[in-house]
Symmetry: D2
Subunit: 119 residues, 4 copies
Amino acid sequence: MTTLLETQRLEEALLQFARERDWEQYHAPRNLLLALVGEVGELAEIFQWMTEAQAAEAMRQPDTARHVREEMADVMMYLVRLASVLGVDLDAAVREKLLLNARKYPPPGQPPQEEHGTP
Amino acid sequence: MTTLLETQRLEEALLQFARERDWEQYHAPRNLLLALVGEVGELAEIFQWMTEAQAAEAMRQPDTARHVREEMADVMMYLVRLASVLGVDLDAAVREKLLLNARKYPPPGQPPQEEHGTP
Amino acid sequence: MTTLLETQRLEEALLQFARERDWEQYHAPRNLLLALVGEVGELAEIFQWMTEAQAAEAMRQPDTARHVREEMADVMMYLVRLASVLGVDLDAAVREKLLLNARKYPPPGQPPQEEHGTP
Amino acid sequence: MTTLLETQRLEEALLQFARERDWEQYHAPRNLLLALVGEVGELAEIFQWMTEAQAAEAMRQPDTARHVREEMADVMMYLVRLASVLGVDLDAAVREKLLLNARKYPPPGQPPQEEHGTP
């Protein structure tokens, strides 16, 4: 399968940002994980009192849309930074997981793949 | 600023995966958000009893490393799928947020930017 | 205001449970916090694909109901254990926060309280 | 086993608080769950950049201590309100789960309980 996700330039930008501020010392895996949790929490707060219909239309409100973009960016940046620090290749990880999911949930009309079958 | 993050092929792969299984109906924003929370929770569980030193070495254990890759992939896939459903351009969102952060936290030796200064 | 919440016997039971297994060494605040995140994630997974109507009726399915009770219990136990380890009096904390909230959100027909008014 | 946790007066106080503001309409299970996620996120943010040693001493800083008490109170209040709305008896749920845990993790020196043994 070809590349699905490219994060390398973001990883470099985040590393440079951290280095310029002497923040690398704070970027331990569990710190970044708690920071990720914090940002997911902020994203949840935007949607907590919305109906499903309001959530589907949320991006039509400019203030809400900007807030959503900011919180999703924060989640993405901590996730990518955590991957850098741990040495996880996110593109490879996503491709592997998609294959696992495709085997676990075959599309209707296809039999479940055998354990060692080609996915 | 140039592109930092490319998610388009992953967005297409996730959309196709959902369509083949008639799962698009479940991909409402709050559903995907709760699924994201679930996957972040699974990632947290991997690290919950580790010391900082153990967390820094976590990827040396093959089973732990595979588990981390799988959970980070799940977090990434729900985040990217949520962005698709909401119509968020994650690359643009990340670039905007990096500029905001650079203005908010100028590197040492540089004065804070003025509100309307060039970042 | 009188006591609203009593957690003391649960705190004692959890401490005893940890001591009998020599688990106190693992109950550092950030460990318990990550464990709390993990359990909230498991609770989120139960509700992630439900409509609001299904969520409101979730407890009528015995298997779902048992799962919800187990995950809510896990969230409660890590929250109470974290409070013990940090030395937080949860009843006092809840009473203080309710007063803050009542001042911040006065009921309709009542003026917002002044900063130093009696709540 | 005797009662370990009493939440009834808090449940009543939270119901009354919601009624006085006409907020019961917003207290759907998934809304309260997302609100719980948001508060856990705020709690995580307090501890995200602390070392374990700093976390263990966090309550000695009055500002941090007040912040921790407020966020833990918020987590507790949404958890208890969610239990009310779902009809979960938290004390019973906690007692059941403790028995399950005791069976799953017998203390050292005791054999694992049989499936139907007395716990």
